[in-house]
């Protein structure tokens, strides 16, 4: 901050500071629908301990969480539920698509399964694997933290939402 009080320098630093706080206090909402949910639980448990990265405060209420972890298959009938939960989350919010089913439908290339949750909600980071190992989830979390530190993600999210065509107006 310069002596005359102009705040340009301060603003960027403040953003950095806020992002730094956000990335180290991601409160995940576990949306575990199948076996990926088990690996997610393992990630949260003491062996891998996601709490080392500040994301151990699991919240089952969408209004109290930042990070939606979609772990597992999302059937067509589950799609409106997922969309509803996403819309209920307060900004800023991020979405992790965990596993092949959530990312692309996986092996379930049939009428009853959504072909990736990015057809319903915008996704910030994908974790490959069937199911992904806990290390994979931790890796994705660290990449997401980098993303958050860089600023982002609202602008990009709006872009993605426009592609999907739905979303919070």
């Amino acid at each position: 901050m310069s002596k005359d009080g102009s705040s340009s320098f301060l603003t960027t630093r403040l953003d950095d500071f806020v992002n730094w706080g956000r990335k180290h206090a991601l409160w995940p909402l576990p949306f575990g629908t199948s076996c990926c949910g088990i690996e997610m639980m393992a990630t949260f448990a003491s062996e891998y301990d996601i709490g080392r990265f500040g994301a151990e405060a699991m919240r089952f209420s969408p209004r109290q969480s930042d990070l939606l972890i979609v772990a597992g298959i999302v059937n067509t009938k589950m799609a409106p539920v997922l969309r509803n939960i996403y819309d209920q989350m307060a900004e800023p919010k991020w979405v992790m698509s965990m596993g092949a089913c959530a990312s692309s439908g996986g092996i379930f290339n049939v009428y009853s399964v959504t072909q990736g949750i990015d057809t319903i909600i915008p996704v910030d980071i994908y974790v490959p694997g069937c199911p992904p190992s806990p290390e994979g989830v931790l890796h994705a979390l660290l990449r997401l933290q980098e993303k958050i530190q860089q600023g982002d993600t609202n602008f990009h999210r709006r872009e993605r939402e426009a592609k999907i065509g739905g979303g919070a107006q």
Partner: protein, 189 residues
């Protein structure tokens, strides 16, 4: 191996154990409902493990009630209720899998339905037929006459078509992302 060779299941060789019982039951069923029994397929002669009774739609409920309650039959348990799309006329076969706790035997009852026709509901005989019949409606589009709650059970209420029909595309995705409340009008018969 001939496809008609009876295959022993985990429950034992049904045909060896129950063939005499089934023959007697078939005779009695034919004499009780001469017009209702269209055809009987026996294990050993057709590709089946238990006898299949083809029953005409009009007397289906009477036959099912008779099979459940009459002495010597007592198939109290509706093990499964489903349908098949045969792609010929008549298009669908509704299948009732029955089991008896008295004799330990199982039989299969089928009724042939054309597209758009309705089958009398079996909920008056077995209350548990409610949800399987809803599933048959959902997956095959066969409606049941007199059913108390005839609406889709598995797919979204806004779904178009019936996914287990042979002409439904395998990847016929339909996506409903809006968290729209259930439309009551779509639930009406």
């Amino acid at each position: 191996m001939d496809i008609r060779t009876p295959v022993p299941t985990i429950y034992g060789d049904f045909a060896k154990k129950h063939m005499e019982l089934w023959r007697g039951q078939g005779e009695r069923l034919k004499s009780t409902f001469p017009s209702a029994i269209e055809e009987i397929r026996w294990p050993g002669e057709s590709a089946t493990d238990v006898p299949i009774f083809y029953v005409s739609k009009s007397q289906l409920v009477e036959v099912l009630r008779f099979l459940k309650e009459a002495d010597g039959f007592e198939y109290q348990f509706l093990s499964d209720l489903t349908a098949t799309d045969e792609e010929v006329e008549p298009r669908f076969e509704v299948v009732y899998q029955l089991a008896s706790f008295v004799s330990g035997s199982r039989i299969r009852v089928k009724t042939r339905v054309r597209e758009g026709e309705r089958v009398p509901t079996a909920t008056s005989v077995w209350v548990g037929a409610n949800w399987p019949e809803r599933e048959v409606w959902d997956m095959f589009g066969v409606r049941f006459e007199g059913h108390p709650d005839m609406r889709r059970i598995l797919m979204d209420e806004r779904w178009e078509g019936h996914p287990l029909r042979k002409d439904y595309p395998l990847r016929g995705y339909q996506l409903f992302p809006d968290p729209m409340p259930i439309n009551v009008d779509l639930l009406k018969d």
